[in-house]
Symmetry: C2
Subunit: 134 residues, 2 copies
């Protein structure tokens, strides 16, 4: 696993859960299926739980399950829960030496903001229940 792995892992897991919403899955099971580590799974899914997409329980028969109906969880929800910016933000130039620098940054930041809105809008059009394998 390499890059954008958090989003991939989250979406992959949720898509599976959407197919069988009643089933509870442990971090170990999920990690094994995703080819990664239980701790990594808990780190990523923890964010989704904090965002109200998943619930987790400890102890015997504990694990992870959807906190909402699958059709009420969109790709945008997941994207926002992870605070993943697929649209990179150019950071503010801290040393405010040059006015051109500022004008430029504002211009680019405006464009990126618009583009991110477009991205989120597009992602919100698909729920995790709509992902189906071939």
């Amino acid at each position: 696993m390499k890059r954008n792995s958090r989003l991939s892992l989250a979406l992959h897991t949720l898509s599976h859960m959407a197919g069988e919403p009643a089933q509870v899955r442990t971090s170990s099971d999920i990690a094994e299926h995703a080819g990664t580590n239980p701790v990594v799974v808990r780190r990523v899914l923890g964010r989704l739980r904090d965002a109200g997409l998943l619930s987790s329980e400890k102890g015997h028969a504990g694990g992870w399950r959807l906190a909402r109906a699958p059709q009420d969880i969109t790709l945008a929800d997941v994207y926002l829960a992870l605070n993943e910016s697929l649209v990179a933000s150019t950071e503010e130039p801290e040393t405010a030496e040059c006015s051109l620098e500022h004008a430029l940054h504002r211009r680019v930041a405006d464009v990126l903001e618009d583009v991110e809105k477009t991205l989120i809008h597009r992602l919100s059009e698909t729920s995790i229940s709509e992902i189906r394998g071939a």
Copy 2:
């Protein structure tokens, strides 16, 4: 300097050049202004030269200058020249274990492709001659 620095450096430098297109600038001058290193400048501007946006010359009175009129160089040109993906691409899952994984990847990749087109379109609406400080 930290992240997205190539694009920042390139745009910043080109914007300055747009204000005085006749002037030739050395890597050292540019690096000093941008708070970085001449070699880094040459690395970044080299890509812009390869893309036909800049020209460079060695020797006395050598250095960098615009290869086109400033109003004919858009932010999109710079973005594309650097091959910077501000829209992160989710890489193809190499181990094709799971069909859901594929369906998911295709869906997300489609959205990202569209979004990147939007980004480039938006960037192409502004030329480097249109950036003005306060």
